[in-house]
Amino acid sequence: MTAVAEESATDDHSDGTGRRFSLNGGVRGVVLTSLLLLLLYASAQSDQLGRLYSISWKIVLVVGLSAAVFVGANLLISQGRRNWARYRALAGGLLGAAGFGLLRGNRSVSTLVADSEFIFTRDEGEPFVVVDPAQIDAISKVAELRSGLAEYATGGFASLGTFEWPLVGLVLGLVAGYATGHTNRIIRLAVPTAIGAFAGWLIGTSLLFRNRPDASIVEIVLFAIMGAAVLAGISLLFGKRHVLVERALFGAAIGATIGGWLLPDLGSGSGSTAIIAAAIPLALLGLRFGWPSDRDANGLASFDRRSRAVIFLAPALTFLSINLVVPAVRTILTSFLDRDSEEFVGLDNYEHLVTSETFLDWRSWSGDDGTWNILTSRLTWFGLFLIVAGFGIAYSINWTRNRTSGLDHSPTSRATMAVGFFLLAFAFFSVIRGTFSNTIWWMFTVTIGATVLGLMMAVLSQRAGRWESIAKSLVFMPMAISMVGASVIWRLQYAPKNISGEQTGAPNAAWIALGKLSNAGLDGNTYPAWSRWLLLLVLAALLVRLGFRIYGSWQRSEGFAGATVALIVVGWLFVEFLTRSMGGFTVLEDGSIQPQTVAFREEVRPFNNVYLMFILIWIQTGFAMVILSAAIKAVPEELLEAARIDGASESEQFFKVTLPQILPTVGVVVTAILVAVAKVFDIVRVSTGGNFGTNVLATDFFDEAFSFLNRGVGSAIAVTILLIVAPVLIFNVYNMQKAEA
């Protein structure tokens, strides 16, 4: 993985596709500019200019603001190296504003107040005003009422509004921060502590009743001492004696917060307990930041490095955690909850999933008469035949070469066996239905299909000379087309039309043409009889030639995998045309003939799945080709040269030199495609909507989570997909660790 990356980063020539086919700078500019003009023109024509404009300035605003925040944060850190106090003031101000804003944003502190009047609003109904303090006291003690109270306030500073709160925080933070950077130790200690206590008082007096903790000062102090002891102990343990006091103070602040806010009941406390619970931690925090003496140059440098790391990483890590890690964890948790995520149901969702017939459907496993369908499938027997034939070939090659019994490992025997196993797996997937089985079938087929075809293209296109880049670009092009677009494209190709008219899709048209050819000469068929005989003659000649070639290769102990494959294909074609059974064109019982179409997406169950898979193979082959092509071109020429001198044939060069060299890259391609296929959604959704037995896990997930609004089962399916790709994930991490070490 990393090897490929580094290579491409430093070496332009490893690009898979030639440069001939990409446009040069000038043309590129003209094309992109005219595209923009076209968009503007079309928008103006249909009254969309306003929307385009508003979207544009929103994007500019967001990007500009974000950039300003990043640059501002960096300038702030740069300030730190020049003027410590000023940096501390700015940082403190921002922290104060953020903290007070957060309190206000959580509606913990209130605004509505008129001295001795208290305004109550309930979740439903009109707000009402209570003036009598005794009444307030009574109401605030009734638990049910209290929970229904949306907003009410006490006196004092609670009149501060949405903008005033952060502003006060800013001012307090500025002063406190500046003081922590002051050279006078008394100021450094006293001012921040005092301001912390003052901020606590401010919060405590303005806190809503429902948030007031029923804290006792003993508890707070106790926990503060415990917190101080814990953090002091940790810093001693790790040999950080020089920051012992700061750590202890910080621990005390955390302990006081726990003792003051997390343990006691909220809502039954009084104003004074709220003030104490808020003021003690904040004062301790102020003390902690005022404690350290001035930083020396060394300290400033390490401060700079650490803060830069935070600033550079914070946006990315924020997005990663908010948009990826936390939701993933939440999904895993909700998969154990019921459909509305309210009650814990254990493994019920998984049980529901695994036992449902849509997940794993064994109904096709045996037919009506109790026979196992897998045993009546032609695929099974052909697959088994190929496996046996592969063993036979391996044995006979070894015998002719070495005169010993044993198995040969040449591509001929291995390829035959591999195809046999592939067909056997296909037979298996075609009798076990259901979303899970389909997903695995997709992963199996698309991964193998795209990798093998991509490898073929990568190898063969090398011989195409000046046509190489064009051939590659054409195969690569579907990568740029969306899966939705690809599904639409193939839907138009797959759709069968009424047999009385012409077919508009290439596959059906070709299929019927083949049928006409194999039935040439019959009444009502426009194809003349000699066309079929000519074809049969050519096929027969090819068969004979291939037979001689294989025999000769065997005599000379050479590989003959390609010729064998060709022999099987040509032989099959010969038989099909000879028996008039090729193509979509049949002779009915009354002697008339009729074209037959294939409804690729609907009728040919379960193999309609394979036609959908082909759409993804169509997209992914280019990807595999480009990467494998780059890897093949990176194989040292000396190795191939040495093999040539040793008399290796071209296929031997490939299988014995090139393939082992590019095997790591093949692994990368395979894992990448596996992960992409596991979550395939668009193709199935657009092609069939999951009907006709084509549902996969990702479409099932969408239906459960967003159509049936069953979060529990939806999450369980998502976790299942995660489990399917988990091995790849672990493999990647393992590789990374090896590369980093």
Partner: protein
């Protein structure tokens, strides 16, 4: 005589070159569907319905005038670009133009924002020495192959109602992310894309940035430049190739995305639907609009194809550098 013989020889060798036949067979199969779409998009509804795209050579009676027709219902008169005229018009039922703008509103910020954010992080991972750098980087890269389905349900809940954290063992919930009511609008899609792009972008840019010569960066630091100016003045300009590679990759990815859009925009007005969603919906109603599907699908694919062919080299580089995203 000798020349003649060698010509026949050459032809025979060409014909019996089975691997080349196989290769060109693949190329043809791979090209026909797109070609068919392109040609059919210029054909009238009846022609698309009644004959295959290869019959276009017989469509001789077409009106070749430029511009859109004034009367769409005039019989026997079909303008070559008529389907495009309908598709790019303001028509609510089949108009694609508003969705082209919506796709831009999603794809452009979803490309710019991750690039900036990830380039900061990639620089930090490559050149700032801090504790826990290695495990953090490996953890980030481990997220590469997380299927996005795993995060979709909570993300939709967050964008339509904010995120709230219940403090363990208490009844108290703390609002971590307020409800901005983003779901149903492009920013929910953009933010989701930004999150999902992050591991790949960091991985790709980090690989590139860490391959820059260390002496260069060290000498800048010795000259007194802090990390910010080293990043802005030195590393960022040098990383343009990798940034371009990722930009193209991400633009194609977001332009072509369907799942995130369909989840996040479910409750929105059709105007905010991106092209993929519009095409998927068009494909859903059979019959009436099927002849417009060709032009619509081509409009959808046109932007990525132009980007792809004009900037193919960067795209390939992006693929090669981080062949893990899919």
């Amino acid at each position: 005589m000798h020349d003649n013989n060698s010509l026949i020889d050459r032809i025979y060798r060409r014909l019996s070159n089975v691997p080349m036949w196989v290769m060109w067979g693949i190329v043809v199969v791979w090209t026909i569907p797109s070609l068919s779409l392109f040609i059919n998009s210029f054909r009238s509804r009846t022609r698309q319905r009644d004959s295959g795209f290869w019959e276009f050579v017989r469509d001789g009676d077409r009106d070749y005038r430029l511009g859109c027709p004034e009367d769409y219902n005039a019989p026997d008169l079909f303008h070559m670009i008529e389907n495009y005229c309908v598709v790019l018009s303001n028509d609510q039922a089949s108009g694609m133009l508003s969705s082209v703008i919506s796709s831009l509103a999603i794809a452009v910020p979803s490309t710019i924002i991750p690039i900036s954010i990830a380039s900061f992080a990639a620089y930090a991972f490559a050149w700032i020495d801090f504790k826990g750098r290695k495990p953090l980087f490996i953890g980030t890269v481990a997220l590469l192959s997380i299927p996005l389905q795993v995060a979709l349900i909570p993300l939709l809940i967050m964008y339509s109602g904010g995120a709230h954290f219940t403090i363990p063992f208490t009844e108290r919930t703390l609002t971590m992310v307020p409800d901005f009511a983003l779901a149903g609008g492009p920013w929910a899609v953009v933010l989701t894309h930004t999150g999902f792009a992050m591991p790949f972008a960091i991985f790709l840019l980090h690989n590139y940035m860490s391959s820059l010569p260390g002496e260069l960066i060290e000498s800048a630091r010795v000259d007194g430049a802090d990390h910010f100016s080293t990043f802005v003045r030195l590393v960022l300009p040098l990383s343009v190739p990798a940034i371009a590679a990722f930009a193209i990759f991400q633009f194609l990815w977001t332009w072509n995305d369907y799942l995130i859009a369909v989840v996040m925009l479910n409750g929105g007005t059709p105007e905010v639907f991106p092209t993929t969603q519009r095409i998927a919906n068009l494909a859903g109603d059979f019959g009436e609009t099927e002849h417009l599907l060709t032009a619509g699908a081509f409009v959808q694919a046109f932007v990525p194809l132009v980007v792809f062919f004009s900037l193919q080299r960067y795209f390939v580089r992006g693929l090669l550098a981080g062949s893990v995203k899919g």
